[in-house]
């Protein structure tokens, strides 16, 4: 069974299906977050272990949640929200940087943290995925 690297038909089909899935999911997200006028109020929803807190993006604030693993510090400043510090290992949450538009998110899985931007009437991409 000395095999040379031969690409078979099924390989191409699998690759095409995966690419198609990626494109479809991306399109769903783009559609879900596109229909909002610019003057809507934006909020940052910080969810830790399932519990959410909503903050207006217009008000600068430093949020240090208590009794949470790995003590992330979330900062809202100048209409952006970002994670300033966290005791997680990979610091992906910090590297994600600033977000400010609905549909953008920051996650820190070890800290059970997600930060996402929504508009006032909570009819963003979440409903799309729930359906």
């Amino acid at each position: 069974m000395v095999e040379k690297i031969i690409i078979k038909k099924g390989d191409i089909i699998i690759a095409v299906i995966i690419i198609a899935l990626a494109i479809i999911i991306s399109i769903l997200y783009i559609i879900g977050s596109n229909d909002l006028p610019d003057d809507k109020k934006l909020y940052a929803v910080v969810t830790i272990s399932g519990k959410s807190n909503r903050f207006a993006l217009s008000k600068d604030i430093v949020y240090k949640p208590e009794h949470t693993p790995l003590n992330p510090v979330i900062v809202i400043k100048d209409g952006f929200v970002f994670v300033e510090s966290s005791n997680c290992r990979d610091k992906i949450c910090i590297k994600t940087g600033k977000i400010s538009k609905p549909g953008q998110i920051i996650v820190c899985v070890p800290a059970r943290l997600t930060v996402k931007i929504i508009t006032e009437d909570v009819s963003g991409y979440e409903d799309f995925i729930a359906g």
Partner: protein, 175 residues
């Protein structure tokens, strides 16, 4: 699916388990997160050992190796939540192996199988993370992970071609 208890296969399975754990440990030292900020990104080298066992020893032994690797790796190197992510990914990847062997059969090579394993693994991990975080938002990373799984799968698949030749010869050596 019968677990092979022939002495040769049992000792080989144990070695494959060790190799899987070593590969998992080594790849955790490659800092992929310096390039991207995508959670859960990995090369999936440990799957090489599981695939070798799957094709050369047997699907049943391979399943045991995969589960044992998840348990031991998370006990030794990770945390309880790491266990659940690892398990979700491993179960999905193993399902991809079964799907490839019994349904796709000859129409795929190691490259396609590895790509499918990588994609399923990432899907499983993202789903597990969404459950753990109690938030569907993390699914937004799935398209990126799917595209990347094509590359990591291709890499793993090519390595499988190289390694399987060596493995086959060693496995069938008559001393």
């Amino acid at each position: 699916m019968k677990i092979s208890l022939r002495a040769k296969n049992v000792s080989l399975s144990a070695m494959m388990l060790t190799v899987a754990m070593l590969l998992s440990y080594i790849e955790s030292m490659i800092p992929l997160t310096t390039f991207t900020s995508i959670p859960g990104l990995k090369l999936g080298l440990a799957n090489l050992a599981v695939m070798l066992a799957f094709y050369f020893i047997g699907p049943a032994n391979s399943a045991v190796i995969s589960l044992a690797r998840v348990m031991l790796s998370s006990i030794l190197f990770g945390s309880i939540s790491a266990f659940w992510f690892s398990l979700a990914g491993a179960v999905m990847a193993y399902s991809a192996l079964l799907f490839s062997k019994y349904i796709l059969r000859e129409s795929v090579s190691y490259i396609g199988v590895s790509m499918l394993c990588a994609a399923c693994h990432n899907l499983g991990q993202i789903a597990a993370a969404a459950l753990l975080l109690n938030d569907k938002a993390i699914f937004i990373y799935l398209p990126y992970l799917l595209i990347l799984s094509l590359f990591t799968g291709a890499l793993t698949g090519m390595l499988m071609f190289l390694i399987s030749n060596i493995f086959y010869r060693l496995y069938n050596e008559k001393n």
